[in-house]
């Protein structure tokens, strides 16, 4: 009996992020309907807002699983998009642009990880440095090339046909399935979780940290590339502040999705997807509930409290006598 109820509780806690997403979704629809707003457009907008975060954060899960974290992903998204635009404008070659975006994203990501592993410094610190460098360099490029427009862009006709939910959902689904496959059904994901759980033991089990860190950062790079591409599809221009919110929102999304920030055995590949959309939905619900622009602060307060409550409930079973670090 004891074990039975324990199991139910466990299950409930595992399912809570999914439940939260469902509840938030229903609430959101209710709100929009009750206000007499157009649900179709609203849903599309929210999806567009959420998809970039979900994609980048899903890639980032591989890094978080290892017990490391990367705060430069937002800046990397900006930089990849910038390079993509430059490439297109120089060559007018769409496939080459896509290649450039992904190449840049993966290269940025790998650079942090290789720098970190070659010189034995914490990956976190290299990402802090990357954050400054990437945003500064992008800003320099954008303002120099952008001139009177204040931003750089590709012709909108190029991506207009792609700016529709079915295409984006397909991309998201493919990317998620690839990540799911790598994470859940291959040695890579298992070993990364193990490294996150106990790096010393992982090493003594013959799992080379550097190799899996490089794979993780590559996956994150692919996520960043896809995020940058989707950003361009939504708005074919890049400004210095493009994707600036993503870096920190990844943290929130992953935690919201029910995964510990320290990674390890409890890492979940779907955490970012669920958490990312939950967070966007929550913010929009609050925006609707507390209409009026003076409420942006209050919206953020309520959403943060909700965030803490969710984390608190999902981590209920992992309390110790010591304060966690």
């Amino acid at each position: 009996m004891e074990a039975g109820s324990e199991k139910t509780k466990q299950l409930l806690i595992t399912l809570l992020p999914v439940l939260a997403l469902a509840v938030l979704f229903i609430l959101f629809c209710t709100f929009v309907k009750a206000k007499g707003y157009r649900l179709d457009i609203y849903l599309k907008t929210i999806f567009n807002q959420g998809v970039v975060l979900a994609v980048v954060a899903t890639g980032a899960i591989f890094i978080y699983t290892l017990g490391s974290f990367d705060i430069s992903l937002g800046a990397a998204t900006l930089f990849a998009a910038t390079v993509g635009v430059l490439t297109y404008n120089a060559t007018e070659n769409f496939p080459l642009m896509i290649l450039a975006i992904f190449g840049t994203a993966v290269a940025c990501s790998l650079f942090s990880s290789i720098l970190a592993s070659a010189f034995h410094i914490p990956a976190f610190v290299t990402t802090v440095a990357m954050l400054s460098v990437l945003s500064a360099v992008s800003a320099q490029i954008i303002t120099t090339k952008g001139g009177a427009l204040g931003g750089i862009g590709i012709p909108k006709t190029l991506v207009k046909p792609l700016d529709n939910p079915p295409f984006k959902i397909t991309l998201l689904a493919i990317f998620f399935l690839v990540c799911f496959f790598v994470f859940q059904l291959t040695k890579i994901g298992r070993r990364q979780k193990f490294i996150g759980g106990n790096p010393v033991c992982a090493r003594l089990t013959g799992i080379p940290y550097n190799k899996y860190a490089i794979i993780a950062f590559t996956m994150a790079g692919i996520g960043v590339g896809l995020g940058a591409f989707l950003t361009l599809v939504y708005t074919p221009s890049v400004t210095t502040t493009t994707a600036s919110g993503i870096g920190m929102n990844i943290f929130v999304a992953i935690v919201f999705g029910g995964m510990p920030i320290s990674g390890g055995a409890r890492s979940r590949i779907h955490a970012a997807l669920i958490g990312g959309f939950s967070y966007i939905l929550l913010n929009n619900i609050l925006e609707l509930a507390l209409e009026g622009s003076s409420a942006y602060g209050i919206t953020q307060i309520v959403s943060a409290v909700f965030f803490l409550a969710v984390v608190c409930v999902t981590s209920m079973n992992y309390r110790t006598d010591l304060l966690p670090r």
């Binding site: 291959t186 992982a202 089990t205």
Partner: protein
């Protein structure tokens, strides 16, 4: 008969759904050295830590010197006369020896405006170390500069300084070398002579029978029986510990060394600082090679070097056909498995399930096409290990952190045996493991030997080495001082001669 100094009445303790202690009542008398023995998870550490204020019972009462006893913390307990030296490390590496000794009791040194008088604290710490006969350790030294054993002595000094009426020592002897043990035994005897009481917890039946006056056996959280000195009988104690007679053999039954001609792993002229000085070793198939010595003799490092986890400064580790073991990865590719002495940190991921821990090393075995992992295959693989090693668990999904020491070690074995390791490097594999599991492991090793696998058994327990090895290499200060073949003549005394 004297009045008991400590009375435990109907103590119960639960951890989640696990019952650690069930209605345990026990009296401890002044002037006695009371041994507490039992298998892992029997509750012996729990009961003593409750008495010493480290944790609280769910129900039951305690009396100490006739008064109700409700310690709030270990410091509180120590202040009132119950001091405990814990099993794991009880010291903090980042601060000085003096700060460790006076941890939590700085009020004595608080001067004007709350400033702590560091000089005075260091002087008193020097005195405390001298009181247990250790003069080379000073209060001002950073603890990080001391080795593991000396740190244990700092703990002993800390407790001794308070002259507690009851001294509780939990499995400390495993961390100590011969000298350290002697310091501790002397201290225990001194306490008993002065009319204080000592509670001594140990796995080592020989040790506990030698040192203690009375012996209490616990099993599964229940107090089974208390033996007085006259009643000591090894077999009877052992039987009451595991609840049944030990069936079959404990160690190997054969008395002669045996091995196959074929070599399995070769280490040549290995040097690494003070820890290894030109050590060469060859493992044959179907052979158990024991490595013994004091904890600091370099044998633990040898294990790591053979596994490729630590690179030697000079010398090499390679297979008979010359493939070098450069790192853990190549070691595993050659079918080498390594069981660390530090199980919870180096051999297991405690936050992961049994399944994750066993599966991690054997993925190549069951992955379809070498990379695709299906739940079905993995379950089959893991369940086989769980069954063969009879790991006690609710399911393979259970977290390893919830398992007892013995079961944890079985998981580690399962991990390496499952993936088909040909060579097992076992560093203190039976450390903190109870007799029942120990016996199972010995039998397992014998089975592996018969299958032609090679085993390097690094151990601090001499009886284990003598009972299991085909050959024992005795090490001292990083050098191999003697190689002894298996024989019935071999005794502890012979080994000790080369160890010290």
């Amino acid at each position: 008969m004297k009045e008991p100094i400590l009375q435990l009445k109907h103590i119960c303790k639960q951890f989640g759904s696990v019952i650690a202690l069930q209605d345990v009542s026990m009296d401890v008398y002044p002037g006695e050295i009371r041994g507490l023995i039992g298998e892992n998870g029997s509750g012996k550490s729990t009961i003593s830590s409750i008495a010493a204020g480290m944790q609280k019972a769910n129900s039951g009462e305690m009396n100490f010197k006739g008064q109700p006893w409700k310690p709030v913390s270990m410091i509180d307990a120590l202040d009132h006369g119950v001091g405990m030296i814990v099993q794991e490390s009880g010291t903090i590496a980042g601060i000085s020896v003096a700060e460790n000794i006076f941890l939590g009791e700085l009020d004595a040194f608080r001067g004007k405006a709350g400033i702590i008088n560091r000089g005075e604290m260091n002087r008193q710490a020097d005195r405390a170390m001298q009181a247990i006969g250790v003069s080379h350790v000073k209060g001002a030294m950073p603890l990080a500069s001391l080795d593991f054993q000396t740190r244990k002595l700092v703990e002993i000094a800390k407790v001794n300084m308070k002259h507690p009426d009851i001294l509780v020592i939990d499995e400390t002897s495993t961390a100590l070398s011969h000298d350290g043990r002697e310091i501790m035994y002397d201290l225990m005897r001194k306490y008993a002579e002065e009319g204080h009481a000592v509670i001594f917890i140990s796995h080592d039946l020989d040790e506990i029978m030698e040192v203690c006056d009375t012996l209490t056996v616990l099993r599964d959280g229940i107090l089974i029986r208390t033996f007085s000195k006259e009643e000591f009988d090894e077999d009877e104690i052992r039987t009451s510990m595991i609840g049944r007679e030990l069936q079959g053999d404990y160690y190997r039954s054969d008395t002669c060394a045996s091995r196959q001609e074929e070599e399995a792993l070769i280490g040549e002229h290995l040097c690494l600082g003070e820890e290894l000085k030109d050590v060469s070793i060859t493992l044959h198939k179907g052979e158990i090679v024991g490595v013994g010595g004091l904890s600091s003799c370099g044998m633990h490092t040898l294990g790591k070097v053979l596994f490729g986890a630590v690179r030697p400064e000079t010398g090499s580790v390679h297979t008979p056909d010359g493939r070098e073991i450069r790192n853990e990865e190549t070691a595993i590719a050659e079918g080498i498995g390594y069981v660390s002495k530090d199980r919870d940190i180096e051999s297991l991921c405690l936050s992961a399930s049994i399944r994750d821990n066993i599966a991690i090393a054997g993925m190549d075995k069951y992955a379809l096409g070498g990379f695709l992992i299906t739940s079905g295959q993995e379950k089959k693989y893991v369940n086989r290990q769980v069954k063969e090693l009879s790991i006690k668990c609710a399911s393979a999904q259970q977290l390893t952190s919830q398992l007892s020491g013995g079961n944890k070690q079985k998981v580690v074995f399962g991990k390496w045996i499952g993936c088909g390791s040909e060579i097992l490097l076992l560093d203190c594999p039976t450390r903190g493991v109870d007799i029942g599991v120990k016996q199972a492991m010995y039998q397992l090793m014998i089975g592996l030997k018969k299958e032609g696998k090679s085993i390097l058994l690094i151990s601090e327990e001499m009886s284990e080495l003598i009972g299991m090895s085909d050959r024992i290499m005795v090490m001292k200060d990083g050098k191999v001082t003697k190689e002894l073949e298996r024989s019935t003549e071999l005794t502890d005394a012979v080994m000790i001669r080369y160890m010290i």
